[in-house]
């Protein structure tokens, strides 16, 4: 039960993106379309899960004094492998994410989970933690990207990253009422601030309720 709660907390209250401010760089930069968000999210889930498992597996033999360098080597290798795979099998996605794929190496969330969780827990728990945190990150990324894409273009669409085939496309706002500001960097910061503020407001409201019930 406790594990499930941890899993759920990663989505809203302890969302790595909006509540913990982890991995901001790539979040803001690639959050222009839903496609990018899903592609980046999947890449991060894979790297995070596999790195969690590997680091947990070698935690007994890793000298604690140099554990950070060990993590960095493991993560860099995984990221490069994922990058090569994306380049080979999802060329379009590679084209849009570009330099932000290698930058997953320095995404704080991966090193953060390695340090805070995988280095102290067994492989199964680390696997679950990796998937949970990765999904939470992807969730945050999707919320931000979808909001920006809808406000900036009025359209929400998603295409298969491997075949570039359009899977669905809906126009939610008439073309005359879209605000292209949200596709610019300023729009990214603004959307992020609003969502983070809303989450904070929701959290404080929820904790007030708990107090009242008590």
């Amino acid at each position: 039960m406790n594990k499930l709660d941890n899993f759920k907390a990663g989505f809203i209250k302890e969302n790595p993106v909006f509540a913990l401010y982890l991995g901001l760089c790539s979040v803001l930069a690639i959050s222009t379309t839903l496609n990018n968000a899903v592609g980046m999210g999947v890449a991060v889930i894979i790297v995070l899960t596999v790195s969690n498992v590997i680091i947990s597996a070698i935690r007994k033999v890793t000298p604690s004094e140099i554990r950070i360098p060990v993590y960095i080597v493991v993560i860099a290798t995984l990221v490069k492998i994922v990058e090569m795979l994306i380049q080979a099998y999802a060329t379009d996605l590679y084209g849009t994410l570009g330099i932000f794929i290698p930058l997953i190496v320095v995404n704080c969330i991966i090193l953060g989970r390695a340090e805070a969780f995988a280095s102290k827990n067994n492989m199964l728990d680390s696997l679950i933690d990796g998937i949970g945190m990765g999904l939470g990150y992807t969730f945050g990324l999707i919320i931000l990207s979808a909001t920006r894409q809808i406000l900036a273009t009025g359209i929400l669409n998603f295409s298969n990253p491997f075949t570039s085939e359009m899977m669905f496309e809906v126009r939610l706002i008439p073309a005359d009422y879209v605000i292209s500001l949200f596709s610019t960097p300023a729009g990214a910061f603004l959307t992020f601030a609003m969502i983070a503020g809303a989450l904070e407001a929701y959290k404080s409201k929820a904790s007030k309720k708990v107090k009242e019930v008590k």
């Binding site: 401010y21 140099i66 360098p69 080597v73 090193l111």
Partner: protein, 59 residues
């Protein structure tokens, strides 16, 4: 193969430098800066709470 050896050498160099750097004590009067660093999530940072390695050495 030479690529692997080269990479191994770089990894070794990094480990050695990392170790010796963390062995080198922080000069007197510089520790206070730790307080100025909050809100940042870089856990590889020496000032991050999870990085208690320098404290271990002191003890």
């Amino acid at each position: 193969m030479p690529g692997l050896l080269f990479l191994a050498a770089m990894g070794g160099l990094y480990a050695a430098l990392y170790y010796f750097n963390h062995k080198t004590p922080i000069p007197a009067g510089c520790e206070v800066e730790e307080v100025s660093c909050h809100g940042c999530s870089i856990s590889s940072c020496g000032k991050h709470p999870s990085q208690n390695y320098t404290l271990e050495v002191k003890q």
